[in-house]
Structure formats: C-alpha cells, structure tokens
Subunit: 277 residues, 2 copies
C-alpha cells in the first residue's frame, strides 16, 4: 500500500479509537510496510494534527509502545466555540417558565455535540477518567459525546427505577429547583468500585443534582475526578457544590422583559492548554 | 501544504462532517493547492475507503458540486459485527426479571455505539432522513449514535413532561409490557412538519412503544422513513407493528433455566449493500 493510502486509513483508524494505544507492529502488518515507513507516516500525522491544534498523536516508546490519538483542542478553538455558543444561547426564545432555558437543539445536534465532547475531553484528557456519569435525561447526550472522545463508557443515574436494569444503589439529594429531597439511583453493575468518575450535566442551578451524583460515586467507593456542566445559572447564588467547571454562564434571565444574558463560563480559565506549546 | 499532510487533514475534516457537501474550492483555499491536486487527493481517499468497504466518498459534479463522505459499511463488516454482538448477548447474566435483558453495557460503550451507529446509518444513508427519533431513556444513546453518522439532529420523546422543554404534543399508546395505555410526548419545537423520521429504540417486545412514536410522527404531519431496533424479542409473537428492522433477535429467554438465545435479526436481509459493487 502506498503512503498516501496508508495515511488516509491510519487517520481514520486512529480517530475511531481515541486514547487507545496502537502498536507499530499492528500497522506494519496491516499495511505490509517497513517499520521505518510507518514511523514516517506517524510523524506526518502528528505534525498535521499539531499544526491545526486539533488532536495530539502521542508516541509511547519501548517494547510495549506504540501511538495513541488524544482528542485535544487548542485554546483558540475552544474560546471561539464558547463565544459563539454563548451568543446563540442569548436568544429570548429559549426562556422557559421558571427560569429554565431551552437547550435541546444544542444537545441534539451532532456537530455541537462533537465540539462540546471534544472540548470537555481536552480538559480531562490526562485525568485517567474511567467512566463519565450523568443523570437522565438531558445530560445523556453530553455524557455520550464526552465518553466518545475519552473512549470510556458512560453511566446514567436515574430518577426512577426501571425493571430493565436489575439491582440498584440509590441516594437522596436536595433538588433545589423543586426544593425537596429527591432520589436517584444507579444499577449495581453499571459502575466498578475504585473508578475515576467524570460527572457531567446539561444545566446547573444550585447544583443539587450534582451533589446527588457525588453521593452515588461515593456509594460505589469511587472518586470524583471532575465535574463539568454545559450551562451554569450564575444568578442562583446559593451553590451547593464547589470546584465545578461550566462552559457557559447565564448571568441573567428576565422572564418578563424576555432578556437572557450568557457568556463563556470558567472552563477556559481552569484548563491547561500547554500540551500544544 | 504537502499531499501527505493534506490527506491527513482532509480525511479528518470529512469524517467529522458526514453527509455534508464540501466544495472543491473550499479545499483549494484551505490548502493553497491546485484544483487538480485536490481532485487527485480525493480520488486516493475514495479508493482507500472503498477498498476497506468502510465509507463512500461521493463526488457531485457541476458548479454547486463537491464531495460528500457517506458512512457506509460493507456486508461482511455488518455480518461479522452482528454475529459477535449476538453471541455476547447470549449471556445468562443478562437475564432480568420479567423477560428483560440487560444491555446497558453495550448501549453505554463508545466502540459498540460507533459500530451500531454506522451500521444503521448505512441502511438509511440514501433515505433522506431529517431526524432520528427515540423515546427516553435507553434508546437515547442509540439515536445519538445513528444521528452522528447521518449528521442529522435527534429528538427524544418523553414519558413524563419536563418543565424545561416548553409546550408539548402528547399521544397515547398501548404499553404491552405493563398492559395499559401510556402517554408519550414531544416538545412542539423539537420537530418540524413534513420531516422524514427514522425511529430507533433499544428493545422491542410487542412494539407498543414504537406505535407511540409513529403516532407522534403523524401528529407533526411527518413521515416514518424507517423503524429499527437493537434487539427484538422474537418470543413475543403478538406484534403491534410491521416493517421494522432488528439488529439482533432474541428467540428465547428462560428465566428459570437461565438460558438466553440470540441471533442476527432481519437487518442484513433488508439492507442493500450494492453501493459497494
């Protein structure tokens, strides 16, 4: 196979398997090419990804070595996307009763999910995440998008028990938007003990739902490696949680005057983009 | 930019935007290369995808022309995956009370979702799908995976109303597993009239839930372009629906003897793979 064909196939192969170590002998066999040619191919791939600040090709030396594609966006890509996203969220038609915001068009769009997934996966690319957790229903597409780029499973906590999941572990949490104690649960077989968990959700007001997922994580003797939400309602000042990241911060919703103000959240300030320097 | 670098970037660019027409002048400008060079690049890409029976690069001639990447798997890839998937489902630990089957490990795994999404997107690649529909909760990851490869939005029907979605349209349907009339609904702004809808779900017994989604589609003056489920329980003979496709057929579940039998469903027989001939 020619270099040009190898490069097309290799790019596709690696992109479909993020964070997976692929040995050089695998490519040598797949393409019937010399190891030195494969090394040159990979150098081209690495260089091209880096030039666009969109992806890192990591080389792992030694007998058990190989290459690994890490989805990773440069700072400018992230800032540009979050500025655009914030301005799209500043649309009065999104305002719903009770200070909620319609976001389904973003959470159901493959191109937005690709950007958001890659962006959050950049932040946690080197955090050794084992699993992404969210709670039904609207956080699911976000969790799946992040899980795709970290190439780990995602688990969905539920607010009601389903017969199709078997035994579950449940916790109570304060749901501040309805101001009462609620319950969420996870199938016992969905999460292994000692997992490193990334919690994501679509919308955060006081953060009660996020505390529920933290509780669930503890019940499985696991560790919260990070918490990241798509939108944070900054006007709800009584936060029940600390140390979370938000992509977008909604600073004001006026349901009477039909005004919604949004800006990029604290995500960029708390993300280390230095792998591209 | 050199051909080798262009090919890496072009592969990545097209793969991230399935079913999207990209004009040749766009690539000419992006790479500062001659149109003839870009055409040669694209021919290499097309040839390499076809050789692996994993993706089609379509060329659209004329002033408004360009190229389009269509995720499309060859028959052997599909058969191999479905055989493997069926044998993984034949695991007695999956049997839950009430003749249900634990599938969350498959529906939450990025690599399975990639294969399943691409596979269903192959079947409907030329059906002009506008939107993928499913019902909460477990069909969501499936819908998202298919939507990613068709590059269209997906919508989620709900069994309970949420305050964060605004106005909704609701329908009644017979939920045969609990043998009563249930309700599902969709936000009015989630689906445009005259849409071509692909309905997907994770598990089908009699098909009551699918009839609900068909009803919803009609309420939005839209058309059901196809219906596809991951698993069909073939032992439930009183089907409420016709013309659906299934990836896997579960022919027997014996909860006492802990036996579950599965095989590939009718998907392959009803899919035209001739685009690769």
């Amino acid at each position: 196979m020619k270099r040009s064909e190898r490069l097309v196939d290799m790019t596709k192969y690696l992109m479909e398997r993020p964070h997976t170590l692929i040995s050089l002998p695998f490519f040598v066999k797949r393409y019937g090419a010399a190891k030195s040619s494969i090394s040159e191919d990979l150098a081209i791939l690495k260089h091209t990804l880096a030039a666009n600040q969109d992806g890192i090709l990591e080389t792992v030396a030694g007998a058990a070595g190989g290459v690994r594609y890490v989805p990773y966006l440069g700072k400018n890509h992230v800032k540009r996307y979050l500025t655009d996203l914030s301005s799209r969220i500043e649309d009065s038609q999104r305002i719903l009763a009770g200070g909620f915001v319609y976001l389904s068009d973003i959470l159901d769009d493959p191109q937005d999910l690709r950007q958001i997934g890659k962006l959050i996966a950049t932040r946690y690319a080197y955090s050794k995440i084992d699993v992404v957790m969210t709670v039904e229903t609207k956080g699911i597409s976000l969790a799946q998008a992040v899980a795709r780029y970290l190439n780990v499973p995602f688990v969905i906590a539920r607010k009601q028990s389903k017969v199709t999941e078997g035994a579950t572990v449940s916790v109570n949490y304060i749901s501040s938007s309805i101001d009462r104690v609620s319950k969420m649960e996870l199938p016992t077989r969905a999460l292994k003990n000692n997992s490193n968990v990334l919690i994501v959700d679509d919308f955060m007001k006081a953060g009660g739902t996020l505390t529920g997922m933290e509780e669930l994580t503890k019940e499985f003797n696991s560790n919260v490696a990070g918490t990241c939400v798509l939108c944070e309602a900054d006007f709800d000042k009584n936060k029940l949680i600390e140390g979370y990241l938000s992509l977008v911060k909604i600073s004001r919703i006026d349901t009477t005057k039909r005004i919604i103000l949004a800006e990029p959240g604290n995500f960029v300030a708390h993300t280390d983009f230095s792998r591209f320097q």
